[in-house]
């Protein structure tokens, strides 16, 4: 599935430095619409940094990237969220002391409008909007398979549920691209299995998925294409089977020199 002529996200020579450390150097890749795209590499390879760059949390130092045909190289996170990039975090970052439902409702913020006036008067428009997002939040809770009272605080959910709540919150922003940073980390086999099903459902609903993952089986079973990063550089790209046999990749994971 190559859609190189009209990619959703395209990085061209992206570089990001932290002092003397090149966390990303000259990374180019393109992600087609409807793909599940894998991003793998050893710890410290720069995967999360790449996420932070395309979600606007870090500003890149070199190169540029376009999303849905528009260049966003120096933009605030909320602009990119509005453009349609949503993400989860490697270290879960939920709104811990808000309820599961509220977490998702915050995700709806970017697609809703009511302000101070609506809040104070609770006029028809504000009430309708509030009802709609509460409804949507309940649906999303069910969608990601969290079967808990809605008032449960986010931090009182189990680890696997928290990971899924993060996905639900990201989906509430109505993204075109869903970027997941190690969503299966710390999950057991059953949980990983249902996560896989969930990601397939999400893709089937028309959302492109960018996935960082260490679980090789998950990557192999899910991804259409994979990019491998090592020390901030792209060392391989292609379909999972082919990447897995790439000598440079094997070397990177074993810590040796490329054959």
């Amino acid at each position: 599935m190559t859609t190189a002529n009209n990619p959703l996200l395209e990085l061209a020579g992206v570089g990001k430095r932290f002092g003397g450390l090149a966390a990303l150097s000259a990374v180019s890749l393109h992600i087609g619409r409807g793909e599940i795209y894998g991003l793998i590499g050893p710890n410290g390879a720069g995967k999360t940094t790449l996420f932070n760059v395309v979600t606007g949390l870090y500003q890149l130092d070199e190169g540029n990237f376009t999303f849905d045909g528009v260049a966003y190289s120096r933009c605030k996170p909320h602009v990119l969220a509005e453009a349609g990039i949503a993400r989860t975090f490697q270290n879960i970052r939920l709104f811990a002391n808000m309820t599961a439902l509220e977490n998702i409702m915050v995700g709806c913020h970017v697609r809703t409008r009511s302000g101070i006036w609506g809040a104070l008067t609770r006029n028809a428009a504000a009430r309708a909007e509030e009802r709609a997002i509460a409804q949507r939040a309940r649906e999303l809770l069910r969608y990601v398979g969290i079967d808990r009272p809605h008032e449960t605080l986010a931090k009182h959910l189990s680890y696997g549920e928290q990971r899924r709540l993060e996905i639900a919150r990201a989906l509430a922003t109505e993204p075109k691209l869903l970027a997941l940073d190690e969503p299966a980390a710390g999950m057991n086999a059953t949980e990983t299995g249902s996560l896989k099903t969930l990601l397939q459902t999400i893709r089937a609903s028309g959302i492109t998925v960018l996935l960082i993952e260490h679980d090789v089986k998950l990557i192999m079973g899910l991804c259409d294409r994979v990019t491998v990063l090592d020390y901030g550089r792209k060392i391989a790209e292609g379909v999972p089977e082919q990447v897995r046999r790439d000598p440079a990749v094997i070397a990177a994971y074993l810590g040796g020199e490329a054959a």
């Binding site: 909320h78 970052r93 709104f95 509030e130 922003t173």
Partner: protein, 364 residues
């Protein structure tokens, strides 16, 4: 509003309406005035609660907005400039002006977090006070440390709240009239707080309090949302300040010291950050307790030891500090925390969040 709360609310309403006469009859004349101040402080604490309790922005200079509201009233409605604008113009103007100051002082702090934010806001609070203290030369605007006196009382047409009035066959002294006016405004502030709390805006504030980076990534324009919190909080402060000036008839920079900011912050924290009921409780306690001590500590020492060992004034601060420490140790979420904060500090935590704040996801 729950139906079973109706009788309770009705009882509370009647109690609040009768309070000035009840205290007059039972405790003595001075207490209505203290109740008036309690109401002003409650408004301030509710305003600060928006900034600190909801949005999680530690503001140590909040009293500046109280000062802006008060001086606005004092300058536009006193012999200082010979202006005597009506209160229904001056009061909203003061709230609006404070709102602008909220944005103005908030804007430079947007990138700061935690301790740094506290230090900078503390500085801003002091700057405002020092300005007020020194704006008497070369042109005299604020009358410097002497302050501005003979401020017009709050007046609606012929009805001035500065003096006693006969209504429904009862005598209403100025303190009583102000009590009812302040009560009205306090209810307004509570109403606005409640509406905001349960709204899209309120959720956005809390999301920023919980995790600013995640909030940003979820598409919240954190700059605007924080400014909105500063602006709303400051508006309440300005409102309270205007009422204070009209009530007191006199303002001077002394009333707007850092200690006041800390006092208001204590009300919020002691009572229960983020919970309107808790904040009100904090306000009431922190106004009443010192007064009770002031009135009680002297005579009690006389009775016990035959002389006054410790000056009631210093005892007041001592007790105050002890009470604060006790509350922080025994009820770290405040006396009446919001349900969420209560759950947050409950022991049945299922997962630890310490890993959450690790490394680089945090920084920018």
């Amino acid at each position: 509003m729950n139906l079973k709360h109706k009788p309770l609310l009705a009882a509370l309403a009647i109690a609040l309406l009768l309070l000035p006469f009840a205290t007059d009859a039972m405790l003595g004349r001075g207490w209505v005035r203290i109740a008036d101040f309690a109401l002003l402080y409650i408004m301030l604490a509710l305003g600060l609660n928006i900034v600190v309790g909801y949005a999680g922005l530690l503001d140590l200079g909040y009293v500046a907005f109280f000062a802006v509201g008060a001086y606005n009233y004092a300058l536009l409605s006193s012999p200082q400039f010979g202006l005597h604008w009506p209160f229904w113009v001056v009061l909203p103007l003061g709230a609006l002006l404070a709102c602008c100051f909220g944005v103005l002082l908030g804007a430079p702090t947007l990138k700061l977090r935690g301790d740094y934010l506290a230090i900078v806001t503390l500085g801003f609070g002091e700057i405002i006070r020092i300005f007020l203290n020194n704006l008497n030369a070369p042109v005299n605007i604020t009358n410097g440390p002497q302050g501005i006196s003979m401020i017009d009382p709050i007046r609606a047409g012929e009805f001035s709240m500065g003096g006693e009035h006969q209504l429904f066959g009862l005598a209403f002294p100025a303190t009583h009239l102000h009590y009812y006016l302040f009560l009205l405004f306090t209810l307004l502030v509570i109403f606005v707080s409640r509406r905001l709390e349960g709204s899209r805006i309120g959720r956005a504030w809390m999301a920023i309090r919980e995790d600013e980076v995640a909030a940003e990534a979820m598409g919240l324009n954190t700059r605007n949302i924080k400014l909105l919190a500063f602006a709303m909080g400051a508006t309440f402060g300005g409102l309270s300040g205007g009422l204070f000036a009209g009530f007191q008839g006199f303002v001077s920079p002394e009333s707007f010291s850092l200690m006041e900011s800390i006092m208001i912050l204590c009300m919020v924290v002691l009572g229960g950050m983020g919970n309107i009921g808790g904040v009100i409780l904090g306000g009431v306690l922190l106004v009443l307790l010192p007064e009770a001590l002031r009135n009680g500590a002297g005579p009690m020492q006389q009775a016990l030891f035959g002389k006054t060992l410790v000056d009631p004034e210093s005892l007041r601060m001592l007790m105050f500090g002890l009470a604060l420490i006790a509350v922080m140790l025994l009820r770290p979420a405040g006396l009446w925390p919001s349900t969420q904060r209560r759950r947050e500090l409950s022991p049945d935590e299922m997962i630890s969040h310490q890993e959450q704040d690790t490394v680089y996801d945090n920084s920018k």
